[in-house]
């Protein structure tokens, strides 16, 4: 119950902010941070609970973005429909990749997800309809009342998606699915032997995770009014998703949120004040630092600190 009140408060606050006269740049930056929250939360469903590392967030994210563009150009459907189709495509891709490689050891799944990024990118580079390598300019539709600008509206949409993603992750974590996934992570043979349907659970997690990442990509073309393969399928999304989850803590749904909010805000600040290269470097260094020194993430540090008192 407390969770749902919190979720309601977050959505209400997002709408309230979007209607207030806060500087436009705030929404522009916050949108990116919220995207990171969705990506990290989605990543954690498979990576954190089941222990299968997915290097492919850009693939799912990009497929979602391109699905939205196709739906927009072809049928001129509104954003809601774009997101739904993007989630569907992301989920299908997750299911497909999972079916192909989740039977194998985790490293093979990880490498396969890298492969999917490049294959998707190559397909989009060679697909004229969505602009090919040079990309495609998109005309934003009319902004819906009561919002003063399209970016504000997208900010609210992304906030709702973040809340939805976290709710799904929380549900998965607390249900028998989450227990099964954790059993897979701790000892897959033992889990299989005690009757946990490991492959089905992994496939489910991979599909949900992919669907959420796809949904997160859907508003991106409208946010930029532009789409182009190289930046859409960029590995920086991988580092954002994986980094946030690891830095925040992978064992609980709150971890990726903490990680993404911290890391996302830090990245926004560093990109503006120093440079975008330094920003990637900081995330990389933080990732390695946490993986080595604080494998349980910020949540783990917090727990340890509280336990000592």
């Amino acid at each position: 119950m407390k969770f749902w009140i919190g979720a309601g408060v977050v959505v209400a606050a997002a709408i309230g902010l979007a209607l207030s006269p806060v500087n436009e740049y705030f929404f522009y930056a916050s949108y990116v941070v919220l995207t990171a929250v969705v990506l990290a939360t989605a990543w954690n469903i498979l990576g954190g609970y089941a222990g299968y590392v997915n290097f492919g967030p850009p693939a799912f994210f990009g497929v979602g973005a391109y699905a939205a563009v196709v739906i927009f150009r072809w049928l001129a459907l509104p954003l809601g429909a774009q997101i739904a189709v993007a989630a569907l495509m992301g989920g299908l891709l997750g299911f497909g990749v999972g079916l192909l490689t989740l039977r194998l050891r985790g490293i093979f799944f990880a490498i396969a997800t890298v492969a999917v990024i490049f294959i998707m990118e190559t397909l989009m580079i060679n697909w004229r309809y969505v602009g090919g390598a040079t990309g495609l300019q998109l005309l934003r539709p009319e902004v819906m009342a009561p919002f003063a600008s399209y970016t504000r509206m997208l900010f609210v949409v992304m906030a709702v998606m973040a809340v939805a993603a976290v709710s799904i992750a929380r549900y998965v974590q607390d249900s028998w699915i989450g227990r099964g996934l954790r059993a897979v992570r701790d000892n897959e043979e033992a889990a299989e032997a005690s009757g946990v349907p490991t492959l089905k659970l992994k496939l489910f997690a991979c599909t949900i995770s992919g669907g959420l990442m796809g949904a997160a990509g859907a508003p991106m073309p409208m946010y930029l009014s532009f789409i182009e393969p190289a930046s859409t399928f960029n590995l920086s999304y991988t580092i954002a998703a994986l980094g946030s989850a690891i830095i925040g803590g992978m064992s609980h749904w709150a971890g990726p949120i903490i990680g993404a909010l911290l890391l996302g805000s830090l990245q926004q600040i560093v990109t503006v004040t120093i440079s975008s290269e330094v920003n990637v470097l900081i995330v990389g260094v933080l990732l390695v630092l946490f993986v080595v020194a604080a494998p349980e993430g910020i949540l783990g540090l917090f727990r340890r600190f509280r336990g000592r008192k």
Partner: protein, 291 residues
Amino acid sequence: MIFSFDLLFEAVLFGVLLGCFYAAVSIGLSVSFGLLDVPHVAHPAIMILGSYCTYIVSGWGLDPILSGVVLMPAFFVLGVLIYRFYYETFERRGTEAAVRGLAFFFGLAFIIEVGLILAFGVDQRTVQAPYIGSSLALGDYRIPYRMLVAFGVALVLTAALTVYLSKTFTGRAIKAVAQDEPALRLMGANPVRIKQWAFGIATGVSALAGAMLIIVGPVEPAMDRVYIGRTFCVVVLAGLGSMTGTLAAGLILGIAESIVLMMLGASWAPAVAFGLLLIVLGIRPQGLFGR
């Protein structure tokens, strides 16, 4: 596009040269991932680091290949240090190490890549040597000398490593550690020291592979990304840890990529390695020469 056997022959010829080159850049990974089971996704990044070091050393007037050879001991030490660190922090702690080890190497790759961008910028770098830029005319075909040089070095490297692993005492010990580590431990050998040595060799070889990379074409920091696909494709297709398999798999990839390049154009070429990798993982994950 007009199909002709002349063009096909040229594509296959170029593919063989390219394939040997791919085998050579993958052979380090074949040891570190194939034999030692280390999820070394930073292998291509270390190779690019090798390319940039070659760029610096050859800037002092040394031949690029020689520069690569000179760099090998330094990279050997680097490899020993990386493995030592990886072992102490992850491998020793067992189960959950898989996720964190992968994340560690991924982060390492990113740090190397961005470090290179900060130090050298995103521009492409090349080296100078007499054999770069000219080509050998064989009847109607023109084969660039730089490809021939890379081909030669690749063959020597693969042969040397194959002989080393099957004929010398330490080489056999490395193979033994890959096959049955607990047994080796029971016989009184220290598997960690053997693995450390092997990882050092794999990394040292990467320096020479990096030198070849910058001889074959211009190098930029973000190039490691596409080589993740090529190197892992070759190693998985070969069957983990098989040296002759690595050569065969490299040839398959090289020829496939070269034919796609000719038939469909350069924009499709990067997908060949990744596509082949997915197909192998789906159909025959143990590879062609799998154990």
